[in-house]
Symmetry: C2
Subunit: 330 residues, 2 copies
DNA sequence: TACGTTGTCTGACTACAGTCAGAGAATATA
DNA sequence: TATATTCTCTGACTGTAGTCAGACAACGTA
């Protein structure tokens, strides 16, 4: 796992939030530790035994992930993080038990596809059932009110833990993931703007403008999947423009946009930018709130972007803060 | 693990709460499942790798559990649920690494006691540090507000999951655990009553009165530890009395008292009791609320208990509910 | 057509988790 | 004093997780 890397990676970002990690509430740390111990370790172990009952964990995971429609081995390998030789063996064991059948793909003779047999599907349904049963067993003894409290608290913990697992990286704007993010972004603009959105009418941000030294693209990821992005174009006279700020709808309100923006500002600052500007559409209320909250102030139009209603800018403090932080943390 | 037993055990109790488990909110079940998957499996696995880094899990657990003062092997065996042969081997491995020293106990030459050496203590401190670090890493990228939300939600989840892990059993009132519970109960009365509490002045409930056919003692346990109790004395004319209702202070408000009471009522009902009575002191406000909420109504004093201010009673419905439920669930 | 790449499979490992049967010493009990 | 019990230790297992190197066929590309 990349936990240590992720960690040092996050440390280097001067989000302003990690500022006080040394003075962080000791009670909070204790609560998280206690939670880890009680829930992640103890409940986790009980879960495994109860759910998989006599079936090796990886067999159960595979049966689950193959799903009803079958799945390519290479996909499974990546998704479950298994060694290719190991996967072959576990798959062979499942095949010997008559739970899966593996065949080559039509289009590409190299890739192999696993399907669940009928009895494989039965086993999968059984896993599903036990999962339900475990959940019911937990809820069973609680009162209605407690159940509501528990599920809502669980949802919150999940969401915030996921937030803490999101990490940022500067990436190539021509990668498939980058293009996917841009598509999501455009699709959202199109659906939200009062009169749609046509990228060709808007001010461009070509791929070559989003790589050093002309700019940068930051992608936020959760478990390897892209969940947000933001770009910056370094212009003349120490001025830069923010572009394509997008966060996956299900993960909004968790500060991802803020983190992306801070990272873009950091990159701009490193590129000797003194002023960051951006324009936005009036329908993007969360974004506008984000900008204002981060210290952006409204100015009059500095370009002719047809879809924009507001123009913002923010002076970057060129104090020793960033340098000091980078020096201290890296 | 005793999960399955616990489950059927809990199913047999007509708590009135588990009534609707079949119609239980499907969303709640989905939320719990999702939580189990995300938190218990994923985060749990990351935890382990990160915390133990290259050290076998059981070695790490042992180092942790031996603690600063040392611990008897038999205690460790029970606490961690390890096979005795296996424990010897793991302990041997730790000894070979110079992390622990094992010696025989003075009083009893059979029992062996493990102590951490200096380098063992260092390793333990390192585990401790990494545990902190992991917590910090989770909190790191969150805003102050999110941190508060997360820790409070974590606390709630922990508490409610623990509530769901509490199970009840009818037990022998002369066991050390039963006596411990009574001591806790008396100690609490003594500290809360306006003029203290002296058990000898109060109406008795001897051990032999709390075993069938004269009565029963129910003990609530969490991870094997007693955390609450309640007793019932079956009297003449189909009348029973509730006694010694106590719940560990840290676990109040989770419905444990209610569950104990329901179980006592069920036992009374089985013993052909029609009316349950109890008396209580005015300082025990939660208990009074519990009784009223469960359908007990205040009546005039039916005994001369010197510490009582209120007397309550409740008619047990002798409908077919209990019988039907028992028939259906067992 | 040659060559590198991709995806899979095999063999040969290591290490940890966990179980079972039985030996042996120290202690408790009849 | 004889016998049972408690606690630990040893040996001999099984099964799962996980790694590494290399073989090989199918495919894409120069």
């Amino acid at each position: 796992m990349r936990v240590p890397n992720k960690r040092t990676g996050s440390r280097r970002l001067p989000w302003g939030i990690s500022d006080d990690s040394s003075e962080m509430d000791a009670e909070a740390v204790l609560q998280v530790r206690s939670f880890n111990r009680t829930v992640a370790e103890r409940i986790g172990a009980v879960n495994d035994r109860f759910l998989h009952q006599h079936r090796p964990m990886n067999e159960a995971r595979l049966i689950w992930e193959i799903g009803l429609e079958g799945e390519e081995l290479r996909t499974l390998r990546v998704r479950l993080g298994l060694d290719s030789g190991y996967l072959t063996r576990v798959m062979g064991s499942l095949a010997k038990q008559g739970l899966v059948r593996v065949r080559s793909a039509r289009q590409d003779g190299r890739v192999r596809i696993a399907h669940l047999t009928k009895s494989g599907l039965r086993v999968r349904a059984e896993l599903d059932r036990r999962s339900d049963e475990l959940a019911l067993h937990i809820l069973d003894v609680l009162t209605e009110k407690q159940r509501e409290q528990l599920t809502s608290a669980m949802g919150q913990v999940e969401r915030l833990l996921e937030a803490s697992m999101i990490y940022l990286a500067t990436e190539d704007p021509t990668s498939t993931d980058a293009i996917w993010c841009f598509e999501q972004y455009f699709a959202e603009l199109k659906s939200r703007f009062e009169d749609g959105f046509d990228p060709s009418r808007s001010i461009s941000a070509e791929a070559q403008e989003l790589v050093p030294p002309r700019g940068a693209l930051v992608i936020a990821r959760l478990r390897g999947q892209p969940v947000g992005c933001g770009a910056v174009k370094f212009g003349k006279k120490h001025v830069a423009e923010l572009k394509r700020m997008w966060v996956c709808p299900t993960l909004r309100g968790l500060g991802v946009g803020r983190r992306v923006m801070n990272e873009l500002e950091r990159l701009a600052s490193e590129a000797n930018v003194h002023l960051v500007r951006l324009e936005t559409n009036r329908t993007l209320k969360e974004a506008i709130r984000l900008y204002r909250g981060a210290g952006y102030v409204e100015v009059k139009a500095f370009n002719a972007e047809p879809y924009a209603h507001y123009w913002f800018e923010k002076k970057l403090e060129r104090s020793s803060r960033f340098l000091k932080k980078n020096g201290r943390d890296s």
